[in-house]
């Protein structure tokens, strides 16, 4: 396994672990200082339509999302479990990588019932700084664009 692949796998495993554990400061810490985060229904991607379910084109907006999630949003009480597949990596610059990884998220309700909540593809632009790889752009292409119930916790 190449060093790049290992580093990306490690980043993605942290990503899922922090998201599922509700460790949102650590989760935000995986993003670069300037970053974007979009969750886009696959039907919009296929038809080249720009609207997203979550559209954060600045880090400030992503932080607003997390603040809202923590303070104001009310949503189904549940546990998430990210299953992230092996990423496909393309080098796009001296310190920049494109990583595409399939993912699924299972949701378990309070009484122990689990359902497949979402599946799709991560399209991440990553760059390397002194501390390692950080996410500069993340696009979550959502195959499950008929969203079951609601989408509050991060994919």
């Amino acid at each position: 396994m190449s060093a790049d692949l290992l580093a990306v796998c490690s980043l993605l495993s942290d990503y899922g672990f922090y998201a599922d554990g509700g460790k949102y400061d650590e989760w935000l810490g995986l993003f670069a200082k300037d970053c974007s985060y979009h969750v886009v229904p696959k039907e919009n991607v296929d038809r080249e339509l720009p609207a997203a379910l979550i559209y954060c084109d600045t880090r400030g907006m992503l932080e607003d999302r997390i603040q809202s999630l923590r303070v104001v949003s009310k949503y189904n009480i549940h546990t998430d479990r990210h299953i992230i597949g092996i990423p496909r990596i393309t080098t796009i610059g001296p310190d920049a990588l494109l990583a595409e990884a399939p993912f699924s998220v299972y949701q378990t309700e309070q009484e122990g019932e689990t359902r497949l909540f979402a599946t799709g593809l991560y399209r991440d632009r990553l760059h390397r700084n002194g501390k390692g790889l950080r996410i500069s752009q993340k696009m979550v292409v959502l195959d499950t664009f008929a969203v079951p119930s609601l989408l509050a916790t991060p994919l």
Binding site: A51, L53, I54, Y55, C56, M61, R65, V72
Partner: protein, 431 residues
């Protein structure tokens, strides 16, 4: 129509006696759960003399463009003919009932069913069937087989400023009087400008479609359930606003005016006194909740509900048309078309795209709706005949327009027209 119901079903059928009060301030939970009520709705609400929202004119700009939609649970296709007119038909082959068009969108001259290659025109007329005269003189259809009687079921389409409504009924009143002047004006307010589709949101909710149809009519919940509004000062019940209905009270607009800063601070204080306001939290990107005035008035929120399945929403600069698609008594889909305008500047388009964060399944002021509907659906399932929900804010009695926001009167308007359509209005019913 054949009555396929059993004797027991007929005995248990809903009647006008089901209403505890004739002003619809009590709504029995049975309406949200009973499969026989749902069957009646498919027949009389979605298959009856009403107009359902099916899509937008701008989605099929060129001759041959088609898009799939629904009337209740019935799949339909609307498409543009050579002469520019929009035609629609039920997407069910007149032969063996297969979906003729499997794609959701596309462009074509004709529609051919894959099963036996029956081929239909864009207006649903049957153009031809394979082996009509048989093969080598054997088989084929009888001589009196008439293609004219085997077309696809027609859907009547009406366009109001490019917003498309469909009906299966030949008895539905003209769309102009169905909507009424005020509702047409609210559609005009948005759709008079040339529209651009920015994308779609879809959401599957484990509840009954009517719970969603009445939700935007209920001004009560908006700033209480959706904490984002009050916390970040976007929309409050104390804002100047109100409720406007059509003469029959089947449709409505709930609206709120943009406030100047002094008024905003004063009403935030009202919230603080009621201990509803969460904190002095601020957004890092305030544009998310910022209203850039556009259009002919100063309304920062205007939510139009059209019976039975349509919501047109303006929340700040986020604009969308929602179609409620029922899927049995226990599930529905919200199909939301997000729009901007062809003359929007690139900055305005970006502003609208950012404000899509407010709406849809992940919307900062909308995600709570589906949770509220699901927990109500779950908790009311086991209730018997007598149990009913309370709809009484703004008082009971007459159903009428209000120039204040703390009311849910048009929820009663919805039920009054629903009861009329189902033929179960109580004695002395309010309308």
């Amino acid at each position: 129509m054949l009555d396929r119901s059993s004797a027991t079903e007929r005995e248990n059928a809903v009647t006008s006696a089901i209403w505890p009060r004739n002003d619809y301030s009590r709504v029995p939970y049975r309406f949200y759960h009973d499969p026989s009520v749902y069957q009646l709705e498919l027949q009389k609400v979605f298959g009856g003399a009403t107009w359902s929202f099916i899509g937008l004119d701008v989605e099929v700009p060129k001759p041959g463009d088609f898009r799939a939609s629904y009337l209740g649970e019935t799949p339909i296709i609307f498409n543009r003919d050579e002469d520019g007119e929009i035609k629609a038909f039920v997407n069910r082959c007149a032969h063996r009932g297969a979906m003729v068009r499997r794609e959701l969108t596309g462009n074509c001259k004709t529609h051919t069913c894959i099963y036996h290659q029956w081929c239909f025109a864009r207006d649903g007329k049957l153009l031809g069937v394979p082996f009509r005269r048989g093969v080598k003189g054997q088989g084929g259809y009888d001589k009196d087989f008439d293609t004219a009687t085997h077309g696809l079921q027609q859907v009547r389409v009406a366009s109001v400023y490019g917003v498309l409504f469909g009906t299966l009924s030949s008895e539905a009143e003209p769309i102009e009087s169905y909507l009424g002047e005020k509702m047409r004006d609210y559609l005009k307010r948005i759709f008079e400008r040339p529209v651009r589709v920015l994308g779609y949101h879809r959401q599957r909710v484990r509840g009954n479609w009517k719970a969603y149809a009445v939700n935007p009519r209920d001004n009560y919940h908006a700033s209480l359930l959706h904490d984002f509004f009050g916390t970040f000062g976007l929309d409050r019940t104390s804002q100047i606003g109100g409720l406007t209905m059509d003469p029959r009270h089947r449709h409505c607009v709930t609206w709120g005016r943009a406030e100047d800063e002094a008024t905003r601070q004063k009403s935030l204080q009202t919230y603080a006194n009621e201990q509803i306001q969460s904190s002095g939290l601020k957004l890092r990107e305030p544009s998310l909740a910022e209203f850039l005035p556009e259009g002919p008035d100063d309304l920062s929120v205007a939510i139009l509900s059209i019976f039975p399945n349509c919501v047109v929403q303006q929340i700040a600069n986020s604009i969308a048309a929602r179609q409620i698609r029922p899927r049995g008594p226990d599930e529905f889909e919200i199909f939301q078309t997000l729009i901007g305008f062809k003359d929007d500047s690139p900055e305005m388009t970006l502003h609208r795209l950012r404000q899509t964060n407010l709406v849809g399944p992940a919307g900062l002021v909308s995600m709570e709706d589906s949770e509220a509907i699901e927990i109500a659906h779950r908790a009311s399932k086991a209730e018997g005949e007598e149990a009913a929900e309370v709809v009484e804010l703004g008082g009971g009695g007459a159903i009428s327009d209000r120039d204040y926001r703390a009311n849910d009167v048009s929820v009663r308007g919805f039920w009054s027209y629903y009861a009329e359509i189902l033929g179960i209005e109580p004695v002395g019913a309010q309308r």
